[in-house]
Amino acid sequence: MSRPHAPARQRDAILPYLLLSPGLLLLLGMLYPFFLGVYYSLTNYYLQYPHLFRFIWLRNYLKLLEDPLFSYSLRFTLGYALVAVVVQVGLGLAVALLLNSRIIGRGVIRGMMLMPLMMPPVITALMWKIMMASTKAGILNYLLSFLGLGPVNWLGAMNSAIVSVFIIDTWGNLPFVAIILLGGLQSLPTEPYEAARVDGAAGWGVFRYITLPLLKPFIILAATFRVMDSLRIFDVIYAATVGGPADATMNLHMRAFFYAFQWYQMGMGMAYAMVLLILVFLASYLLMGYWRRAAEQTSL
């Protein structure tokens, strides 16, 4: 009796794995380089000196502490991400609220908002670099001159270079935050607003006590993405400042790149990358937990 069923049952047992196999393969394709990276970070691996290759346990991580730029690049990475997430999410919320209200040309503006997202970050950075030329020839300084300001040495001085990188990054990523939050705003239930109107609440009160709490999961989601991206920011910095001037914009990712792909010291490069990975993981783990709680609260 069981005979005719056997192939069917067998098929039932295999089927889920078959369906999952592309995903599993992809996972394998991701995990292999990851573990290889972890392994390399524990070795003395130089591309150009294969004879030096040895397993050296955690010595690369100890050497990190001696690296004159480790502590600065760590602080810069964290500080940058913190400022970036606060400002970009704040501005993004403002833009989303604006686009959610009835302004003229809303459709056009929403469409145009997507443009920075379509541009590769390196192109964005190079475009801004030209606009940020330190002389009067730079369009930004030209515009500032009408206000009686400048010329600003955008990328050529330490503090202004940090601000400039931040401006470029924000220009490129603000639409992303705004779109997530706009989507959130549009999906909010209308009942609480009607009830509020009946009760006579308006303006700030509605925003503070209804919109903001309901939007919380979306805000946290946008913040999570921005934190991860800002911790890892590389292309904008590389194209705009190469980590300078005087190491002012040197973050962990730039340092990892220099070790691995400029000096071919893979072991140290991977150690830097691992520190960055741990930061990104911790930050996203905390924020995702926070997000889950917020999502549960709002769905109640």
């Binding site: 591309l47 150009q48 030096l52 040495n153 050529g156 001085a157 270079a161 190469v242 001037p245 400029q262």
Partner: protein, 472 residues
């Protein structure tokens, strides 16, 4: 009936017309596809002895590459060797190349390299010396190839005996040059004449000239590269440093002990950085070679001590506002009266992991032959040529000779008499240069004194050299 006959006649005529057209088209196509190989067949070697083999070439994006691509079918028709290639932007190219060479994958058989790069590739034995191929009469007809036609200094630059800390110009030939650059001073002759500014002959005068241009003409006195990495060092700056010290100082001694804190170099860095801070571009710390060249060509700078061949941009009225207004001079010499410019050549070399070595040599021989290099220069502006015959060709002379009223050719020829690879041979040149450039930033932003900045750079470099075992 009559009508039908007329139709048939028309149809026959149309058929003949189509057939005739097709035959003509096929004939033209066949003629166009058959490259003229007469020049190459004059060589007394059997070009077809490696027929059927395959090569992969790794190329950097460069005018020479552009000139080579349309000619590859010619090589394939001549030899029957199949060629595939991969072109990458410089940074990606070098990273991929090191990965390929170090793993002996042999993905790239013929590579684009050059003197300083060879130090990284030759020491671990990743690339092959080319003389055995050059001297094998079965593989090379020297009378036809004319190796003596290459400028001797450029061939010397591609030789290295493998000794870290010295030995360029000696030992094996690792690659064959396809172009060269040396470093000279381009200056705005019109401004210098108008304000009676003297063309500088010392580094103090260079700084003074920059100051005077800025004061009188209201533009940046001097351009200089300034990003915090090796390119900032490797052209005008290192040539200046070596000239200022009469070619006697080097960034590391024979035992690979870093010597950036040597008082002679500290003095030079002080003069240079003071000049750049006082009269250079406000965003010096962010200047690439390209920014400097564009700014100078836009008429926004008085001088640019950098690559000689940037002249082709300066002198092109479509790209430049200063065409015809630029003077060319040697970089100032040191007290000894001689300029020691640095030197770079892009060159073709061969990966050791190559299976079809002889076929790869055929490619190198064909690609560096007189005819191919002449085409690269005349048709694709591959400046400066590495062969004397290409340099002396009337078409090259007509172009180069017009720049700066002949001053360009005169200056470059004079410069090449003493120009040499400026760096001390070692595989960590790129990292040394990066640390060096960051030290210049510390001085520029007055975070450290020149003495202290160079002392710290030395310490950082020495630690790395020791770790890797470069120091004796």
């Amino acid at each position: 009936m009559k009508h039908r006959m007329r139709t048939r006649r028309w149809m026959i005529a149309a058929a003949f017309l189509i057939l005739g057209g097709w035959i003509c088209w096929a004939a033209v196509e066949a003629l166009a596809a058959e490259p003229d190989l007469t020049y190459f067949r004059q060589a007394k070697i059997n070009w077809r002895q490696f027929e059927g083999q395959k090569l992969t070439i790794g190329l950097n994006k460069h005018p020479y590459t552009e000139s080579l691509l349309p000619l590859i079918p010619e090589f394939e028709a001549l030899t029957g060797i199949k060629v595939e290639y991969l072109i990458l932007p410089e940074n990606e190219y070098f990273a991929k190349l090191v990965a390929d060479l170090s793993n002996a994958r042999g993905e790239f058989t013929v590579i684009m390299t050059g003197p300083m790069r060879n130090w990284t590739y030759a020491a671990p034995g990743w690339i092959l010396p080319l003389e055995p191929f050059l001297n094998d009469p079965k593989l090379t007809d020297k009378a036809w190839y004319k190796p003596e036609d290459f400028f001797p200094g450029l061939i010397a630059a591609n030789r290295w005996n493998g000794k870290i800390g010295g030995g360029t110009g000696e030992g094996a030939l690792w690659s064959i040059p396809i172009m060269c650059e040396s470093y000279i001073l381009a200056y705005r002759k019109d401004i210098f004449d108008k304000y009676k500014i003297k063309v500088p002959t010392t580094y103090e005068e260079l700084a003074e000239a920059a100051r005077l241009v800025k004061k009188n003409a209201g533009i940046d006195g001097v351009m200089a590269r300034g990003t915090p990495n090796t390119p900032t060092i490797s052209t005008g700056y290192i040539s200046g440093a070596k000239s200022y010290t009469d070619g006697k100082w080097a960034e590391a001694d024979q035992n690979m002990i870093a010597r950036l804190s040597d008082p002679r170099h500290v003095n030079f860095s002080k003069i240079w950085i003071d000049m750049v801070r006082e009269s250079g571009p406000a965003n010096w710390a962010n200047m690439t070679w390209y920014d400097g060249m564009e700014t100078f060509a836009a008429g926004q700078a008085g001088m640019y001590p950098d690559c000689d061949f940037f002249a082709q941009t300066y002198e092109d009225p479509k790209k430049s506002k200063v065409a015809g207004k630029v003077g060319y001079a040697l970089l100032p010499p040191g007290p000894g009266g001689r300029t020691y410019s640095g030197l770079w050549t892009w060159a073709l070399g061969m990966s050791k992991a190559t299976k079809n070595k002889e076929a790869a040599w055929y490619f190198i021989q064909w690609a560096t032959s007189q005819r191919t290099l002449l085409n690269a220069t005349v048709e694709f502006r591959n400046y400066n040529p590495s062969r004397a015959s290409v340099m002396n060709d009337p078409r090259t002379q007509k172009v180069l000779g017009s720049w700066g009223n002949g001053a360009y050719v005169k200056t470059v020829q004079e410069n090449l008499k003493t120009a040499r690879v400026a760096w001390v041979p070692n595989p960590e040149r790129g990292r040394l240069g990066d640390i060096w450039a960051r030290a210049l930033h510390e001085i520029y932003f007055k975070r450290l004194s020149p003495e202290e900045a160079m002392k710290r750079a030395d310490e950082e470099i020495n630690k790395i050299f020791k770790d890797i075992g470069l120091q004796k």
